[in-house]
């Protein structure tokens, strides 16, 4: 990152249109594209995915061999036809007919083999790709949230797409390269078999091509990669211009940006021209070598025919082979790159597949039934994402069945962590979290999830209809249930006002709804889930007063008859709670009802008297008593761990 800034700074352009502080698009060197050619460990991992298809693949390899065989045979048949079938008389006539029969058989086999081979290889490679992806996706559903917290979604997506595709390419080409190798050796063998002398002379150009390609490949690859990268740079800049267009226009940056973009587009053009040069430089070399081989054939072969040492048909067969023998070399050297790429991708795939699953159901885990009492209890809980820095320290409290408890405290005090522990997103380091009287580690995760509904700070909607979003995974919820829930939380009216009511598709993460409305939809979702316990992280962003009012009412509906653990930011919510727990630095500072805490004259009462709109706004002076020093840094730092959800 530092290097990137340096180039930005040193690159001061003084032509008036390219100011010193302006850049468009972002550029980060992409991940390692090529690995070692062969890594036994990775190949073994990949083989595990290929294994189920091994019989099919064996068949495909057989078909490839047959296919190659017919390719090799056809020039021989032609040779036979020319040498024996072109004379006059019945003998030659039948020889020609025989050759034609052989030819017909060869092309029939060729047809069948190519069908079987391509079809099996193509489909199997697709199957393996989807299998690997399914395995990874399934694995990501189970890995610990701390891994997900640390990893960008975009990065995972490029595993699930780009890397998986590299594996597919690898599989497809590996089987075909078996054919290439056989073809290459077959041609060499047959040429030598037909005529050693002529074979050796014409084949002499092969090593030359090999050597040239070995020198060419690494350089060409650099040029290809540079072109590829310049594409993503230019496209990145375009994407930025599209996403940021409103800012660009309101700040009048069009001209500057255009000049900067022109630089990138020109660089792209240059890189592509250079790559094209590298790609094309091989053509005359291959053609010249082919020309040399053919010239040798004409001169030497012709002389041998003259001396009666060679049949004309052999010369024709040679012609066919010469035209073919550069193809396998080309694809084999390409295969080298494909393998390297596959190893690099395979490495990254196995990294994802190997992420440990920290939280699993105990072997004797029991189901948490709906008949449990609905209590939540923390007993001496110590927990931190980094064990050396505990976020919760010896925290103990109990939420009784049907009670609503408001958790409050400055940012970084551990509220969100407490909420995550109740749902066993993480395991505690010490102490116990009990739900319905059971240690959460003794319960199945699925049953725990059914009994605890959770509303996150940042409402997250999936692409799909409003109905699907509210129903979510409660498959047995009827349309009536969904509508009833929406009515209960006050979302029904605006949903009905949408173009297709409950059938309206939610675009990119519910973009067409306002934040407050999305919040209400997520409330309805929690209501449909109908869990005994509700864990809720109240939104901090200020929502307009009208929606706010709806939300407050909805919250009351939601909490009716349920145990509620609410991370509260709004005074109204806090006041309505049965009990308030004040956290600071992972410790419980005080608890009690609003009235009790006001009376006791502790931190809460002093904060309350300063009448802040939200308790997250607690300024340094106010929090100093309970949370000296650290509060400042925490309050400003965008604290990933403390944010209920991440987008």
């Amino acid at each position: 990152m530092a290097a990137e800034q340096e180039t930005e700074r040193n690159d001061v352009r003084e032509d008036g249109r390219r100011p010193p502080r302006a850049v468009v698009g972002s550029h980060r060197i992409e991940e390692e594209m090529f690995g070692r050619v062969f890594d036994r460990r990775i190949v073994r991992r990949i083989w595990a995915f290929v294994r189920p298809y091994r019989l099919k693949l064996a068949l495909a390899v057989a078909a490839v061999l047959l296919f190659t065989g017919t390719q090799l045979a056809i020039p021989l048949i032609i040779r036979h036809a020319i040498d024996t079938g072109l004379g006059e008389g019945a003998e030659a006539r039948s020889a020609l007919n025989l050759s034609m029969l052989a030819f017909a058989i060869a092309i029939a086999l060729n047809f069948a083999a190519s069908w079987v081979q391509e079809s099996i290889v193509g489909k199997t490679a697709e199957n393996v790709l989807f299998d690997i992806r399914t395995a990874m996706f399934g694995h990501l559903q189970r890995v610990s949230l701390s891994f997900m917290d640390k990893t960008e979604v975009g990065r995972l997506m490029s595993r699930l797409q780009g890397d998986v595709n590299a594996m597919q390419e690898f599989l497809e080409t590996s089987v075909l390269s078996v054919g290439d190798i056989v073809l290459l050796f077959g041609i060499v063998f047959l040429m030598l078999w037909l005529n050693v002398e002529l074979g050796l002379l014409t084949l002499a150009v092969l090593p030359v091509l090999f050597v040239v390609r070995i020198f060419w490949l690494p350089r060409a690859r650099l040029a290809f990669m540079a072109a590829h990268e310049s594409n993503s740079v230019a496209n990145g800049a375009l994407a930025e211009a599209i996403h940021g267009v409103r800012t660009v226009q309101s700040m009048g940056r069009q001209q500057v940006n255009f000049a900067l973009y022109d630089d990138k587009a020109s660089a792209n053009l240059r890189a592509h021209r250079k790559a094209a040069k590298y790609a094309q430089v091989m053509v005359p070399i291959v053609d010249s070598l082919t020309g040399i081989a053919m010239a040798v054939l004409v001169v030497v072969g012709g002389a041998m025919v003259l001396d009666q040492r060679l049949d004309v048909g052999v010369m024709v067969a040679f012609l066919f082979y010469i035209q073919r023998f550069f193809d396998p070399i080309r694809s084999l050297t390409m295969q080298y790159s494909v393998m390297q790429r596959a190893m690099a991708s395979g490495q990254r795939l196995t990294e994802v597949l190997d992420v440990p699953v920290d939280i699993t159901d105990a072997p004797d885990a029991i189901e948490l039934g709906p008949d449990m009492d609905g209590s939540v209890e923390f007993r001496d809980v110590t927990f931190g994402y980094n064990p050396a820095q505990p976020i919760l320290k010896n925290l103990s409290f109990r939420v009784n069945p049907g009670e609503t408890v408001a958790l409050i405290g400055p940012t970084g005090s551990g509220k969100s962590s407490a909420m995550a522990l109740a749902h066993r997103f993480y395991d505690v380091q010490q102490g116990q979290v009990l739900v319905g009287g059971h240690d959460v580690r003794a319960l199945t995760q699925a049953s725990l999830g059914r009994q605890i509904a959770m509303v996150l700070q940042e409402p997250f909607l999936f692409t799909g209809t409003v109905l699907e979003n509210i129903r979510f995974n409660k498959a047995d919820a009827s349309r009536e249930d969904v509508v009833a829930a929406a009515i209960a939380v006050g979302a029904h009216d605006f949903i009905m006002a949408l173009p297709q009511g409950y059938e309206t598709m939610m675009g990119e993460r519910g973009g067409s709804l306002s934040l407050g409305q999305r919040q209400l939809v997520s409330f309805a979702r929690a209501l449909v889930a109908d869990a005994k316990i509700l864990v809720l992280d109240e939104a901090t962003a200020s929502i307009d007063s009208y929606t706010e009012m709806l939300i407050q009412k909805a919250l009351q509906t939601l909490l009716q008859g349920r145990t509620g653990l609410v991370i509260a930011h709004r005074l109204a919510t806090i006041r309505d709670a049965d009990r308030i727990i004040v956290l600071a630095n992972g410790e419980l500072i005080e608890q009690g009802s609003h009235q009790e805490l006001i009376k006791s004259g502790g931190l809460y009462s002093s904060l309350y008297s300063m009448s802040y709109a939200s308790f997250d706004d607690i300024p340094l002076a106010g929090a100093a008593a309970a949370a000296p020093q650290t509060a400042q840094a925490n309050a400003e730092e965008p604290d990933k761990n403390d944010t209920g959800s991440r987008t």
């Binding site: 800034q5 930005e8 092309i107 190519s114 035209q323």
Partner: protein, 617 residues
């Protein structure tokens, strides 16, 4: 006046989704336009086409030469020629073969390189034009077109058009020479044998065209299904906490499996289409070859043709095979170019809904008076449903105007009209008596700055982001602006300070910090009219107060307009306008409005004493 270009927008949205081949005439028009752009690289085009001619001719000569060589040896063997003469003829042929091969290689290289080069230049020209267009299309356009579609257009569709020269135009020349001249040569040598040798051409050409078109259709469909799949994955990973919170993993796996299965099925189908096609093409080729061999063999036997002729027929067929198979790609290239090109050109031809008037002049700010006179407005595509009706007010330099009202009432719309993000549909907005539609956009937007609700941070350093509107700015000005936005202390606490990279790929900022960035960025512009469009919603109350104090210091130099739903943000304004359903229903100072006992009062009660009204509401 500006209604026309806006009305065309739905067509664009329609066009973007349009995936099938457009009509023939439009298609040809599009292709002609692509060719005109290609022709900008006149020299490269000439070299590429000439090289194609030469390379193709050389290609045709080789089988002839080889045939001749074989005949020469045959002749010799049958004793029809003098030995030394024959040997030297053989040598001459060999040298010719070598020469022709080398030439073919060189000209093929030239052909490929220059046609690629032309294509890339076309890509470059279109890239720039597209970028320029995107940057200047009005908000009304961007509101209604999905950004993902625009990116696809700028990447994939542009790529499709770029490839046209090498995959379409050059290939046509190559194929017509090979098939035309080569075919003529074969047919004139031996009509029957020539017909047989060429018999595979129509079949393969037809198969490969049909297949390519089908593959193209299914490719688009596959992309669609894959994008559904990746959306399922992306949403799952992005919303993993929701998934876990509801123990919805099985539900999500099910969703994934369905999407995955749909994509896999189509992928298999595509393999089938491809396999059926390639196998059949190869078979038909070999069948033609077998025929030639059989019939040709008999002809050689009866002395009608020489072995060399037969060999040259066979060699020619192998040479012809590849280009004919690629005929499908040619068809595909035309189809692709006409649809992709149509989309791109439709975009490039869009008239800008908001642009400089022909007689536009730079805005001259003197007294700094902003005036709304009976302004009406309706959003493009809203079928004339009014968003604002009859809005009139005036604000002088030094004044602060607050805009408040329920969501959707039109507050933000008012804010967006001042810098002409949209044009009014009735009435007039003026600054110092100059209709803003008569001012150049550059000068207007230098005078009017809006702190936006949604903050977009560019992937670059904090300082570059703050200096976005004034990239020549000195460091001290940047620090002052970030100080006013209450960001300086935070930034100085970061390890790399102002050089910390933020944005999509940089460090993440909280919502409040992002809004403060946006404030700092706008303050840098030092505008005559400063609009805060609900831009402190995520900033905590205390910090907001500090920002307000800072801004008030400079308020005497400009008109300040504050749009907010938090009363405390704007109750100190000189005048507060209460907007409801696109109209100003109450206006006055805080105290006047409270005394009015109307809507403002109700809102005040709701916000300041929620417990009182919460129960009632």
């Amino acid at each position: 006046m500006s209604a026309a270009p806006q009305d065309r927008l739905p067509d664009i949205a329609e066009l973007m989704r349009h995936t099938s081949v457009t009509g023939w005439r439009d298609g040809l028009g599009t292709i002609a336009r692509v060719v005109r752009i290609d022709m900008q690289s006149r020299w490269a085009v000439t070299i590429a086409l000439v090289s194609t001619l030469v390379a193709a001719s050389m290609q045709l000569v080789i089988p002839r030469l080889l045939g001749r060589a074989i005949d020469q040896t045959q002749l010799l063997v049958s004793g029809g020629a003098e030995e030394t003469a024959a040997r030297s003829a053989l040598l001459a042929t060999a040298l010719l073969v070598l020469l022709v091969s080398v030439l073919r290689g060189i000209f093929t290289t030239l052909q490929n390189y220059f046609s690629e080069s032309v294509g890339h230049h076309t890509g470059y020209v279109l890239r720039l034009a597209y970028y320029e267009k995107i940057q200047n299309l009005s908000f009304g356009f961007h509101d209604r077109v999905h950004s993902g579609d625009l990116i696809t257009l700028g990447m994939l569709d542009l790529e499709g058009v770029r490839m046209f020269f090498s995959t379409g135009l050059v290939r046509i020349v190559l194929l017509s020479i090979l098939i035309g001249i080569g075919g003529y040569m074969l047919l004139s040598t031996d009509l029957l044998l020539g017909l047989m040798a060429l018999s595979f051409v129509p079949f393969v050409a037809w198969r490969s065209s049909v297949t390519q078109l089908r593959l193209r259709g299914t490719w688009l469909e596959l992309q669609e299904r894959l994008s559904v799949l990746s959306r399922v994955m992306e949403e799952n990973l992005g919303g993993i906490r929701v998934v876990r919170a509801f123990a919805a993993q099985p539900h999500e796996m099910q969703k994934f499996a369905v999407a995955s299965e749909r994509a896999l099925q189509l992928a298999h189908q595509r393999v089938d289409i491809r396999v059926r096609n390639t196998s059949a093409m190869t078979l038909s080729f070999f069948m033609a070859m077998g025929l030639v061999l059989w019939v040709g063999g008999s002809k050689v036997a009866t002395g009608q043709i020489t072995v060399g002729t037969l060999a040259s027929f066979l060699t020619f067929m192998t040479i012809l095979q590849m280009p004919v198979r690629q005929l499908g790609l040619l068809v595909n290239s035309f189809a692709r170019t006409s649809t992709c090109g149509a989309r791109i050109f439709a975009m490039l031809d869009l008239e800008l809904a908001v642009q400089n008037a022909p007689d536009a002049h730079d805005l001259v700010v003197t007294d700094g008076v902003l005036r709304f006179e009976n302004v009406d407005f309706s959003y493009p595509g809203a079928d004339g449903r009014p968003a604002l009706r009859n809005i009139s007010f005036e604000a002088r330099r030094g004044e602060t105007i607050g805009l408040i009202g329920p969501p959707g009432s039109g507050k933000t719309t008012i804010a967006h009209l001042i810098p002409r993000f949209y044009d009014v549909t009735g009435g007039c907005i003026s600054i110092d008596g100059q209709d803003i539609r008569k001012a150049t956009l550059q000068s207007l937007r230098r005078a009017v700055a809006v702190v936006q609700q949604d903050v977009f941070l560019f992937t670059t350093s904090l300082e570059n982001n703050i200096a976005y509107g004034d990239p020549w700015a000195k460091t001290d000005r940047i620090e002052r602006a970030s100080g006013s936005a209450q960001l300086h202390r935070y930034i100085m606490g970061l390890p790399s300070g102002y050089r910390t990279v933020v944005g999509e790929r940089g460090a993440s900022l909280s919502g409040g910090q992002r809004q403060r960035m946006s404030i700092a960025r706008t303050l840098m512009l030092n505008p005559a009219v400063l609009v805060f469009d609900d831009s402190t919603a995520a900033v905590d109350a205390n910090t907001e107060r500090q920002i307000r104090d800072e801004i008030r210091e400079h308020a005497s130099e400009r008109v300040t307009i504050i749009v907010a739903h938090r009363l405390s943000s704007l109750m100190h304004s000189d005048r507060i306008l209460f907007v409801e359903k696109g109209e100003i229903v109450e206006s006055g100072t805080h105290d006047e409005l409270l005394a009015l006992n109307g809507r403002y009062r109700a809102l005040y009660d709701l916000q300041v004493r929620p417990e009182a009204s919460g129960g009632k509401g």
